[in-house]
């Protein structure tokens, strides 16, 4: 069944068109990859889906509910969690509270929230740093922190913006294993990634954007072979 | 009657606009460039007036020289304040409110204790000239000219010279300017100097219009705040436009509804403007 539907979304910044009439649909429990060169509108699409930006035209539908004009925070409560391309945390707050802020706004019962937080911290291996200021963490831990923040929101859909960027192969493997495990437990992922060889491995379907337009969608290998994609990606893969 | 009304509003609108421009501009530079509320401005404003008075009476230096020297002194002092009071407290933007404010209070109190018993008056041009049937004191004209010239010079400086351009670059974005190789602190000091000089000029040209009292610095400060916010931080153009809007609105209200409301209405106006344009008239959007 379809979980998220984006219907012919257009987003303009002044003169320049960041997204032109993009449509996509993500099925439940699949890993959906988005590729494309820089400035192709991937992140803009994320912002539209997560509600940071409002589209000029088109709709965003999540589980048959139109959420185009919903606050980001309400979307989180619906189960859409995301990370940012450049790592963003609350630097002057302890790791625990970075995660707890989200948990406590999703769960009204603080005991459940706390339990959920400790669960997320264990999965991401941050339990040790729970008390430290987030600003002091290493890049990998920071990514994990962002990831944990997604997890505590009891998400149905997790959107990762370049999760593998700046990580060593081992760290990437660790992250992938976590993602796959979570996917087994029924979560859905949308992943923006430049490191195609990893994305190809885990993604079920991939959409390619170029200059704000959808150029291809389908199975990873099909998309990889698609001429437009290669043209757009000259020298990238 | 209506015609005289318009005539008066126009003439005094222009006069006041230039007054406001002359002290809002310097403030706008600091506020826009370093993004710091430079509350010492009030202190500098008061200090330069008293300094000139002391030079005149105690040292008996001729008017022009004492005026210039006090302006220069204030400019230097402004740099010192920037280096030893503003910069150390930059770690926490909130602290700048306090550290710069203390300077103003210290100046005010010292003069209140030492020579606050009665106001002092600076020498003014006594003559009167008539513009379109409206008598205007020559001091007003002096203020107009000085304000216009100093503002003009500053604007030229900002738009033509390299340092001036860099100031505006910093005003746009502190970090990017650092990337393209401008040293923000050098720019910052230049800005402080200009701000100090402008404060001195404004004070010394304006004080003869009224009496010199220790607390004279605050209302220019507040007006500058209002104008800079109305025009939009870091936008020199905004400041110029805003000070004219402020001047004319204030004069209009004064003539139409009396001076009592003249100090309220422009501020209320600014509240409205900000609610509809959260970054002022010419301020850049986040």
């Amino acid at each position: 069944m379809i979980m998220l539907k984006v219907e012919s979304v257009t987003k303009r910044f002044g003169g320049l068109v960041a997204l032109r009439n993009v449509s996509m649909s993500v099925n439940k429990n699949e890993i959906f990859g988005i590729i494309g060169p820089n400035g192709s509108g991937k992140t803009t699409l994320f912002n539209v889906i997560s509600g940071v930006l409002r589209p000029d035209e088109g709709k965003v539908i999540f589980e048959d509910k139109d959420i185009t004009h919903m606050r980001p925070s309400d979307r989180v409560k619906l189960g859409i969690a995301r990370t940012f391309q450049t790592i963003r945390v609350f630097p002057y707050m302890p790791v625990y509270w970075n995660v707890m802020v989200t948990a406590s706004s999703v769960y009204s019962d603080s005991r459940i929230a706390k339990a959920r937080v400790s669960w997320a911290l264990i999965i991401t291996g941050l339990l040790g740093e729970a008390g430290e200021l987030a600003g002091k963490l290493t890049p990998y831990k920071l990514k994990m922190l962002e990831f944990a923040r997604c997890l505590v929101a009891n998400p149905k859909l997790i959107m990762l913006d370049e999760p593998f960027a700046g990580l060593s192969p081992e760290e990437i493997e660790r992250l992938i294993s976590i993602i796959l495990k979570l996917r087994e437990n029924g979560l859905t992922f949308i992943i923006i990634e430049h490191k195609l060889k990893y994305l190809m491995r885990i993604a079920d379907r991939i959409m390619a954007l170029s200059l704000g337009e959808k150029v291809a969608e389908g199975k990873p290998d099909e998309v990889a072979r698609h001429p437009k994609v290669i043209e757009a990606y000259i020298g990238v893969t | 009657m209506e015609f005289t009304l318009i005539k008066f509003i126009f003439i005094f609108g222009v006069l006041h606009s230039f007054i406001y421009l002359s002290f809002a501009l310097g403030f706008s530079l600091v506020f826009g460039v370093a993004k710091i509320p430079y509350l010492s401005y009030a202190g500098l404003y008061t200090l330069s007036a008293y300094l000139m008075h002391l030079l005149l009476t105690k040292a008996g230096i001729p008017t022009i020289i004492s005026a210039i020297s006090s302006i220069g002194a204030i400019g230097g002092l402004s740099i010192v304040i920037g280096d030893y009071i503003v910069k150390p407290s930059m770690k926490n933007p909130l602290s700048i409110f306090i550290s710069t404010m203390t300077v103003s209070y210290i100046v005010e109190e010292v003069f209140r204790i030492k020579m606050g018993l009665t106001p002092v008056a600076l020498p003014a041009l006594r003559g009167v000239i008539t513009i379109a049937g409206v008598p205007v004191a020559q001091q007003w004209i002096a203020v107009l000219i000085i304000g216009a010239v100093s503002s003009f010079l500053v604007l030229i400086y900002l738009s033509k010279t390299a340092t001036g351009k860099s100031i505006r670059a910093v005003a746009e974005s502190w970090y990017e300017s650092m990337i393209i190789g401008i040293n923000p602190y050098k720019v910052f000091r230049v800005t402080m100097l200009i701000a100090g000089l402008l404060a001195g000029v404004a004070s010394i040209s304006l004080s003869p219009l009224k009496a010199v009292v220790p607390s004279m610095g605050w209302s220019p400060l507040f007006v500058s705040f209002a104008i800079v916010i109305l025009g939009g931080m870091g936008s020199i153009k905004g400041t110029v436009v805003a000070s004219f809007i402020y001047g004319f609105v204030e004069q209009f209200v004064t003539w139409k509804y009396g001076g009592a409301f003249a100090s309220i209405v422009p501020l209320a106006l600014i509240v409205l403007v900000l609610i509809f344009r959260p970054t002022g008239l010419f301020g850049e959007k986040e």
Binding site: - | L117, V120, A121, A124, V134, G258
Partner: protein
């Protein structure tokens, strides 16, 4: 590191406080007497403060202000004139010492205290002035009154602001320390005394109420208007609450005098131009101008009065227009202005010039208006106590009510509402006109010097010329 920082902080604080205190103490010797009393307080209180902190017994008052600051100064006086005192009696001075007027009034009170002590004090007790700084705030004034009462002062002087007075009114009956205010012109106070005598009988005002101030201004306004058949007057006033009584009184009196308020223009304290005010007044056909300010508007007013060549008599009052240096400060533009002055250097009473000269050579400035009354207020109380033969409030008050005291500012006699009586032979303001740098008294008529001329402006070809009219007119 931060350890050192924190230690550093406290060292810095101590150094700074010490330095400031030391400097203040040193500066005192060179500066004028009030400051001496002030700064001597410093040295005195420091020790006091130390002892207090040293033995933190809450029973001993924690406030370093406790030290009766002026002891030092009075002692110095005592040294010169050996007088045997039975003991000490404290009087409070509740003043906004952050304002010039407050400092001047404190100086005047201190001056009176020194003189009294030099003559042997009150009932043989040495008078000690305990100042308290209200910072021009009502709440601090209330605290100050309680504090002074606690210090055992027998009377509280000063009380300049109406809001300060209203803040302490309800405390009077609780503490039963009388107040002889100089200032605090609000008519509410008089009402209260009349309405509820038992609660508020401790309140006296050695000055007049706002209505009486207005009345005095109206007397001369009416007289001049009658003389020159003016019927329309323009009112330029500082739009702050204190003028409200004047407006109210003006409405009533103008009907009695058959005059019409042609234009009323309110201005703010930080005004830069009176062009609009004069324009309105003139365009509404006013024949005479009344002006009332409390700030520094005087200077701007005088300037524009000349620049606009306003061809109307302008009478009224400000804070500084009555001072001797005003004429020169405005570069002679004050010519022709008629100003009210609630104390004036002219031999009205034997004490007037004596006080004026002494005050001026001490403070290098003239006594501003309520300064005169602050000086007298201590004498009024001292005399009442002397004739009562006791400090007991209940005995002193009846005597105060009957008192007729000849002071520096005039002759004091308290009305039903415990306010000084306004009359040419009691307390009455002087109106003078600036004539080529001289202050020529023109009102009240009984003190006008023979051969006085009144300058009346007249328009001749756009220029204003002054026509000399013999005064008082036949």
């Amino acid at each position: 590191m931060s350890q050192n920082v924190l230690i550093g902080v406290f060292v810095v604080i101590l150094v700074i406080v010490g330095a400031v205190a030391y400097y203040a103490g040193k500066g005192a010797t060179t500066t004028v007497t009030t400051t001496i009393t002030q700064e001597k307080t410093v040295t005195a209180t420091q020790t006091q403060f130390v002892t207090v902190t040293g033995t933190p017994g809450p029973t001993t008052s924690p406030s370093p202000t406790t030290t009766p600051s002026p002891t030092t100064i009075t002692q110095t006086v005592v040294v010169t004139t050996p007088v045997e005192f039975k003991g000490e009696v404290k009087v409070g001075a509740l003043l906004p010492l952050n304002l010039p007027i407050g400092q001047l009034m404190l100086g005047a009170i201190q001056m009176a205290a020194d003189e009294i002590n030099a003559k042997g004090g009150v009932l043989g007790y040495k008078v000690i002035v305990v100042p308290y700084d209200t910072q021009w705030q009502a709440d601090k004034a209330a605290e100050g009154y309680k504090y002074l009462a606690q210090q055992g002062v027998k009377v509280v002087l000063g009380v300049f602001g109406s809001h300060e007075a209203l803040a302490i009114m309800d405390l009077l009956a609780l503490y039963q320390v009388p107040v002889i205010a100089s200032g605090a012109v609000s008519d509410q106070l008089d009402q209260m005394v009349l309405k509820n005598y038992d609660l508020y009988k401790y309140w006296f005002r050695a000055y007049v109420s706002a209505t009486m101030q207005a009345a005095a201004t109206w007397d001369i306004l009416a007289y001049i208007s009658k003389t020159f058949n003016y019927t329309r007057y323009g009112w330029i006033y500082e739009d702050l609450p204190w003028v409200i009584p004047h407006a109210a009184y003006g409405q009533v009196r103008s009907q009695q005098e058959g005059m019409i308020l042609a234009a009323a223009v309110g201005v703010k304290t930080d005004i830069t131009s009176f062009a609009d005010a004069f324009q309105k007044v003139l365009s509404n056909g006013s024949q005479i101008i009344v002006w009332q300010f409390s700030g520094t508007e005087d200077y701007v007013f005088a300037r524009d009065y000349y620049d606009m060549q306003v061809p109307l008599i302008a009478l009224g009052g400000g804070s500084y227009a009555m001072l001797d240096q005003f004429y020169n400060q405005t570069g002679g533009k004050a010519e022709g202005l008629i100003c009210i002055s609630w104390g004036f250097p002219a031999p009205f009473t034997p004490k007037t010039m004596e006080f004026y000269n002494k005050f001026k050579q001490t403070f290098k400035t003239e006594p501003i208006f309520t300064t005169w009354y602050a000086y007298d207020s201590l004498y009024i109380w001292a005399n009442a106590v002397e004739s009562a033969g006791t400090f007991d409030v209940e005995k002193v008050i009846p005597i105060l009510e009957k008192t007729v005291y000849v002071g520096a500012a005039g002759v004091y006699e308290f009305t039903q509402s415990h306010s000084a009586k306004l009359a040419p032979d009691r307390i009455y303001p002087v109106f003078f006109q600036w004539q080529s740098g001289q202050r020529v008294v023109i009102w009240p008529l009984n003190v006008v010097a023979p051969g006085t001329k009144l300058l009346v402006p007249k328009l001749e070809g756009g220029k204003r010329v002054w026509v000399e009219v013999p005064w008082p007119p036949k």
